[in-house]
Subunit: 425 residues, 2 copies
């Protein structure tokens, strides 16, 4: 029965039942963390043999450079090849960074702030800089733009990606809009993959600001949860078709392919963008960790093998996503007190509670020992205007723990929803 159709007495009884079960959980003294998209131990084990690749004593890159020494600022050639295949660009359209694509994005925004974009006025010299932020989105993107004092404008997501009508309208008329954050495949947190039409419209954007850039964080480009994955269109290819290839910066990493703290990050863009950025790269660093680049290349050998490797990840984590969605379908769907995505890839399940309930649910879970991503985190400035989105990260806990956490979560959703409908909270 839909909760909104219950009588007050039925609701009170439902609330009491939920509260009683909640208190039982609380007494168990759980301590589980579902706050971040961390791979689990079994996933980390998949790449451990990568640490043996230098047993052959060969540290020389294919261009003859010893990767243990300084040099090769933008990456060794074989890493450029492998990771350009991964993000769908040519090997002279990439820069290989350190262990963090977030750091590469931060650096790119910062460079625009200090030096502009292809000769434009440095963003730091402008009175106002704005970014479009599809919501819900990735909290760490928003923190970067917030750090630089960039005004963030929420853009609603649809099943096909961000609202392109609104984006086209805004960028055409407002020259202070300099960028947009996108996670185009298996978006964080909704798990939405942008439709072909959405990608083409992004590729064809004609912003008033010539230094507008799409920050295309393709973090989950090969992070599928099904055997028949759908790939999004290649935005750089589409942009080239319409002579707009400077519009996009593409990012990716192996953080959720090999090791979250010790992977390799990559950026792809038009040759003109890459050449311009490379001029500033050497100011902040002499070279990135090329040993780790070669370690990855020796381990994977080819992009095909990398995709095979991802099937092993899928085998470990797909059952966890299934469990989350099954629990929600069974416990929440019949009550009409929440909506969610059933993602085909990525790292999250995005749950939308009744309006005004997200913070309460996260707090209830926390008080019973299960840490979720903070409510509001998926919105700029941490403010979810409807207080309803909660990002669930199923990958890290063992499946037994995840089951307990989801049992608790569904009870908290029920309790908070009943309280809300009763006008109590």
């Amino acid at each position: 029965m839909n909760l909104s159709e219950m009588s007050r007495d039925e609701l009170l009884s439902f609330r009491d039942e939920a509260l009683s079960r909640y208190n039982d959980f609380k007494a168990q003294g759980l301590s589980l963390n579902m706050s971040r998209g961390n791979p689990c131990k079994e996933q980390l084990e998949l790449s451990v043999s990568m640490l043996d690749v230098f047993d052959d004593g060969d540290f020389v890159s294919e261009n003859g450079i010893d990767v243990r020494n300084y040099g090769m600022l933008d990456g060794i050639p074989e890493a450029k090849k492998l990771f350009s295949d991964m993000i769908g660009v040519d090997s002279d359209e990439v820069i290989i960074f350190g262990n963090s694509s977030l750091n590469a994005m931060f650096w790119t925004v910062q460079t625009a702030f200090n030096k502009g974009v292809l000769g434009s006025t440095p963003w730091g010299k402008l009175d106002k800089v704005k970014f479009l932020c599809p919501v819900p989105g990735y909290d760490r993107h928003f923190k970067v733009t917030e750090f630089f004092g960039i005004e963030m404008i929420n853009i609603p997501m649809t099943a096909e990606g961000p609202d392109m009508d609104l984006i086209e309208e805004l960028v055409a008329k407002d020259e202070s809009i300099k960028g947009i954050w996108c996670v185009p495949q298996y978006s964080n947190p909704d798990g939405i993959s942008y439709s072909d039409d959405t990608v083409r419209r992004f590729a064809s954007l004609k912003p008033a600001a010539k230094d507008f850039r799409i920050f295309w964080d393709n973090a989950y480009c090969i992070h599928h949860l099904t055997d028949s994955p759908k790939y999004i269109l290649n935005i750089l290819d589409e942009a080239k078709k319409v002579g707009n290839e400077n519009i996009v910066y593409i990012f990716g990493s192996t953080s959720k392919i090999t090791f979250p703290g010790a992977g390799v990050a990559v950026m792809g863009a038009s040759r003109e963008n890459v050449e311009a950025l490379k001029k500033f790269l050497g100011i902040s660093i002499i070279s990135y960790d090329k040993m780790n680049q070669l370690r990855h290349v020796k381990f994977f050998e080819s992009f095909e093998h990398m995709k095979d490797h991802m099937k092993k990840h899928m085998a470990i984590i797909a059952p966890k996503f299934r469990l989350v969605c099954d629990k929600l379908s069974k416990e929440i769907a019949p009550l009409g007190i929440g909506e969610w995505t059933d993602p085909e890839g990525g790292y999250f399940v995005s749950f939308n509670a009744l309006s005004g309930c997200a913070k309460r649910i996260v707090k209830l879970c926390s008080e019973a020992g299960v840490t979720l991503t903070g409510a509001g985190a998926t919105f700029p400035y941490g403010v979810d205007p409807d207080d309803r989105n909660i990002r669930l990260a199923p990958t890290y806990p063992p499946i037994e723990d995840l089951e307990k956490a989801m049992d608790l979560f569904t009870i908290c959703v029920k309790l908070a929803s009943a309280e809300k409908l009763l006008g109590e909270k």
Copy 2:
């Protein structure tokens, strides 16, 4: 005979002899690089067994965190212990960074630009920001300040370190002076270690700008070239004694201890500075490479072992420094056409030619196949006002190559000096 005391005929004959020998060299088609302070292959081999430390399958930090995953933004505890010992601070006075101390310095300046220092006005909001730059100095320091549009003021070096009278006078009266670049031990390129008096005067500085910071790049803290090394005074300890502990940011790395591209960088500062900086650290990165941190800790085990390890480096490179200084003593000293340091540590020999000769010497060497650091590079904006300083980096070439390179170098010094005295160039 001193070249300046020669008659014109003697000079002409000297010049012709040097030119003839120079042309012989040119005909050999050399191709040697002495431009950067790169360790040589034998040095890189010293740390290769570090790659086996995870054969035990143990990836757990002493606080129970799996270093392969996200987290531990400011470093794992055992790395904090090891590297705080290295730079002489307590283990809660450090941040462990990625593979590059330059990157840590860049980030620190950038954070001051965007967020100020302990609540001060962000440097980016000020009309003018200036840095003091002891010269000759490290080119990459100067590139960082130049990137941010910081005006750089040359400070002469003395045998005890930078001219402290001048520094004290300038910082006391000019609030726009926000920092100074220092390489206090075995300075780059002079190899000068700051005297106790210099360190104490730095520690006691009372700048007009409350957000003035000493960027204390202790890159060569244990990089000795003698068996009885002298350590400089600990600046943070000295600053604490006079209640001035927020004045300094200390940097170091293992780039020239383990691997230049795959080492670990560290920053040390007062707890107040460290806590303030940590608030911003997580904006630009989720975590640094903790696997590499643990790799280093497992390999070294203690700071004492690290110092033992440095003796192996010394055994490889000290003979190269000796060769450089011997060649200069034999070929240049009697002619009075150059001065240099005989460093007790670090990575460079700083050679001062006759005024107006440095560019010519570097060009002559380059045209005969030996690449040196560009003349002027050791000064802000690449401008050596006297055009006399040349940084020699002896570590990388095999000693046979180094001998050839130094033979060529001394010939080029002779040729350029004779040309100069003849009024030809």
